[in-house]
């Protein structure tokens, strides 16, 4: 397992390096220069460039940039809140995004597992139809349509939850964003769990457990749930990606003060330095989560440790 982990971590670092390179090149390609003022003389521009290190060769700039990024210095914002370090901007907003994303994932997964297991265990025709209908809706309908629907029905017509995020009651006003994002998670996890659990239920060891008179609850938890978890971890990766994308729109809709909202604001106000910094943060987050999932996979499924690839 040690060898596999080392290889996996090395690849992750290489990928992070490539992403930094791409971001740096993009910054070079971005139209315009920071010193566009016509009043500046050539000497002034030269001295400005010198003070910011822009007169150095591109290679030197690149390594300086990497050093800064790795030390956690992401530069300053130009237009959203001028001269504020981007690190502070992100530090204020990150916990909010993390909380909403985390709860969406946990609630969606728990609901999906339960629904999938129940449907697989009590194989009723009507039950299956209802299950198929709901998972189809959950998978096919994008999270922002759910968000619109909820904010219209729950927020506007019935006035149950606040339409916009409220600092004074963060938990209560996060309900609708979490609900909107967790539905698709629930549908995907539910479908995978059901398919896997149906296979497990047909297996000999479950039959044996039933024959020896074990309680249904023990069988579900000890045998079926555990064996159905492996594919669930695999889909978690792709779910996380869609959560990242979804959170952008959802945060904008409910004006949640998270990093997704920050990115959309930065895009619309052309604050390139914030966009680039957030791109780096998102990539790093994504890579770290992938690494964790791979390790988890390794723990659950011994075959991976022995050099095979997760399929």
């Amino acid at each position: 397992m040690g060898r596999y982990l080392r290889k996996r971590i090395l690849i992750s670092i290489a990928i992070l390096f490539v992403i930094l390179l791409v971001l740096f090149l993009l910054m070079q390609l971005m139209p315009g220069s920071p010193f566009n003022d016509a009043k500046l003389s050539e000497e002034q521009v030269a001295s400005l460039k010198e003070s910011y290190g822009l007169d150095q060769p591109v290679i030197v700039q690149f390594f300086r940039y990497i050093g800064k990024m790795l030390r956690g210095d992401l530069g300053v914002s130009y237009s959203i809140s001028p001269n504020t370090p981007i690190t502070t901007l992100i530090a204020n907003r990150f916990p909010v995004t993390l909380r909403i994303g985390f709860f969406s994932l946990i609630i969606g997964t728990a609901a999906g597992l339960t629904l999938g297991l129940i449907t697989a265990f009590f194989r009723g025709r009507v039950m299956k139809l209802i299950f198929n209908f709901f998972t189809l809706i959950g998978i096919a309908v994008p999270s922002y349509l759910f968000a619109i629907f909820f904010s219209w029905v729950l927020g506007y017509k019935w006035n149950v939850f606040p339409l916009l995020y409220d600092f004074r009651s963060p938990a209560f006003s996060s309900v609708m964003p979490i609900l909107a994002m967790s539905l698709s998670v629930m549908a995907v996890i539910g479908q995978f769990t059901k398919a896997e659990a149906e296979d497990v239920i047909k297996s000999d060891y479950v039959l044996l457990a039933k024959c020896s008179g074990m309680k249904s609850s023990t069988i579900i938890i000890k045998y079926i749930l555990r064996n159905s978890l492996i594919p669930v971890i695999t889909v978690m990766a792709s779910l996380l990606v869609s959560l990242l994308t979804g959170s952008l729109v959802i945060e904008k809709m409910f004006s949640v003060p998270g990093i997704g909202g920050l990115l959309t604001t930065a895009i619309s106000s052309n604050d390139y330095s914030v966009v680039i910094a957030l791109s780096f943060v998102y990539s790093a987050l994504y890579i770290v989560v992938m690494l964790i999932l791979d390790i988890l996979y390794c723990v659950v499924d011994p075959r991976v440790r022995l050099g095979g690839k997760p399929s």
């Binding site: 990928i15 096919a140 994008p142 619109i148 895009i267």
Partner: protein
């Protein structure tokens, strides 16, 4: 015939099979399996429903913008924000063009058709804030979104399929290098790639297709590679190799026909993904430029008006949901038919 009977070979046994026999043999097997798959596909009710939805939507995307009698970008400012009015239902009191508005003085029901004195014209989906017919716009948007999704998917298919097939077929060092390259590209979140690309490029259909393409082909190549790995050691491929067939022949004649099932399923899944991403880009403000319409821009428009004129959002949202459901049902049906 008893077991002891000895077969005496005739000269005819050693003559190579004629061209007509080869053609017969190959065409029989291929059409046979395809017919089976078609039968199994159409035997599923849900798949047929999905197919019908997709065909209907495609037809509407082609003719929809022209059948309402109003152009999709004809502005009539005095006719802005008309609620839906449907010919037959209007006389029954449903969808007759009246809408309930929440004002500070309480709820008011108005019928702007009567205020403007429009008697013989109907806007089935209503009009937007510039007085453009939402019916024509919704289907024009559907058409543009579909074109974007189809173009991106076809390009993804060509790149991803070739990449996956080459990587899987040749194996060894080629495979390792090509897979490491994909590992790196695939590790950059789609969201980041698309956002950055749209910042650098001019907004428009071309850049959206390019952005969708950059991230979409990887999944396609994974599937193509996995299928090739499964197929390439099978007897018929080995037989072809033993007979001296070249790489091109084996890839295109022996392997390709046998991996199309999985690829078609993936195509059906990447169309909704592309439509979704396009809508996402519009929402964030990086989508189609102002003035043009796609499902994404229509949704964004509808969302900003949802509390006041909810009819602006419903038809577009319904179209999008139908499109997604249709694609998923067909993909699901194909998956089951292939098993």
């Amino acid at each position: 015939m008893s077991e002891n009977a000895v077969y005496i070979p005739a000269d005819a046994d050693f003559v190579p099979a004629g061209e007509e026999r080869k053609v017969l043999a190959s065409s029989e097997t291929v059409t046979g399996s395809k017919n089976d798959m078609r039968k199994r596909f159409f035997a599923q009710k849900s798949a047929v429903v999905g197919m019908v939805i997709l065909v209907l939507l495609t037809v509407l995307a082609v003719i929809g913008p022209y059948i309402s009698g109003h152009g999709y970008d004809d502005q009539q400012l005095e006719r802005a924000n008309l609620a839906p009015r449907v010919p037959v239902l209007a006389s029954m009191g449903i969808l007759d063009g009246s809408e309930t508005l929440n004002k500070t003085s309480g709820e008011v029901t108005v019928n702007r058709y009567e205020e403007l004195g429009i008697t013989d014209e109907y806007y089935i989906f209503g009009t937007d804030s510039l007085g453009r017919d939402m019916f024509a716009r919704a289907f024009m948007g559907l058409r543009i979104s579909l074109v974007i999704a189809l173009a991106a998917t076809v390009i993804n298919l060509v790149i991803g399929m070739n990449y996956g097939i080459i990587s899987g077929y040749f194996g060894g060092m080629t495979d390792i290098i090509m897979q490491r390259v994909i590992d790196v590209i695939g590790s950059i979140p789609t969201l980041v790639v698309v956002t950055l690309l749209m910042l650098v490029l001019q907004p428009g259909m071309g850049s959206i297709i390019l952005a969708l393409m950059l991230s979409g082909w990887i999944e396609m190549s994974h599937i193509a590679r996995a299928e090739v790995l499964k197929v390439k050691e099978l007897e018929y491929v080995q037989a072809a190799r033993t007979l001296g067939a070249g790489h091109m022949h084996i890839i295109f004649r022996e392997i390709m026909p046998n991996i199309t099932g999985k690829l078609v399923t993936q195509i059906m899944l990447s169309i909704p993904a592309a439509v979704f991403l396009e809508a996402f880009l519009s929402f964030v403000g990086l989508g189609m430029p102002a003035g043009s319409c796609s499902l994404g821009t229509m949704l964004t428009d509808g969302f900003s008006n949802v509390l006041l004129h909810s009819y602006k959002l419903l038809p577009t949202a319904a179209l999008m949901v139908l499109l997604m459901i249709g694609c998923h049902l067909v993909a699901e049906g194909l998956k089951k038919a292939a098993e």
